[in-house]
Subunit: 150 residues, 2 copies
Amino acid sequence: MADRPPRRRDLAAMITPLGRALTAAELPILRAHNLSMWGYIVLNALDGRPAPTQAALANAIGADKTRIIPILDDLQGQGLIHRDPDPADRRARLITITAQGSRLRTATQTAIQRNEERVLAHLPPSTRRTFLRALDVLSSLPPNEITGAG
Amino acid sequence: MADRPPRRRDLAAMITPLGRALTAAELPILRAHNLSMWGYIVLNALDGRPAPTQAALANAIGADKTRIIPILDDLQGQGLIHRDPDPADRRARLITITAQGSRLRTATQTAIQRNEERVLAHLPPSTRRTFLRALDVLSSLPPNEITGAG
């Protein structure tokens, strides 16, 4: 199984296990910061951005509206976010990250990206800048553009 | 949620959804070629390489030994592989891809990579070569090197 034919591997076959390993690398860091993966995703979606409604937030992170409620309850209980009535629509609530939430998000992301930088150090600096830029372009495409179903 | 702070996104947050969309793109192609995802992975692991034992094949594709049996039964039933006793160890069996299996693998991969090329066309040619090379390097690292658990 050692010698490989020179064909290129499928993108999916390269990307999927890499994503799995990078996600596994985040788990102990999230645990150390007392955050769930979804909690971290929510804080990332809130920090430095105008407060969204609960529905807009769910949509932005690709979670369904009922799934997001216990995550928000938990973050609010920890003092990481607060929820206030939307002045534009009294039935909706706006989610804001607290200063404590923002500090925790930054500390968690710093630790995650410190590990990622260690992984990226396997690439020469210029390759690595190009890689990150290309990944940013491809990962910003709508899923339909990738599946060809659009 | 429109304006983003200039911080870089986490690698995992870019790679995981991209991997999911690329895998979703493969499903209709595999279906059209009457192959399961695992069947395709097995054919890829066999084509152009010396015949492995069942155990070595399972190990190479990260499947467990019991899980691989029905996949091999199915591929053999379709005439895509055959299994012969290993002359070096009569209890072991060597797996070989058939000419038909090799043709089906090539046709499937050609269709999958045609879609991937369409996605990669969002990058300038030189960026795209660098991206593929970098991805090949990173995806060839042992998982322990990525999680930092090694």
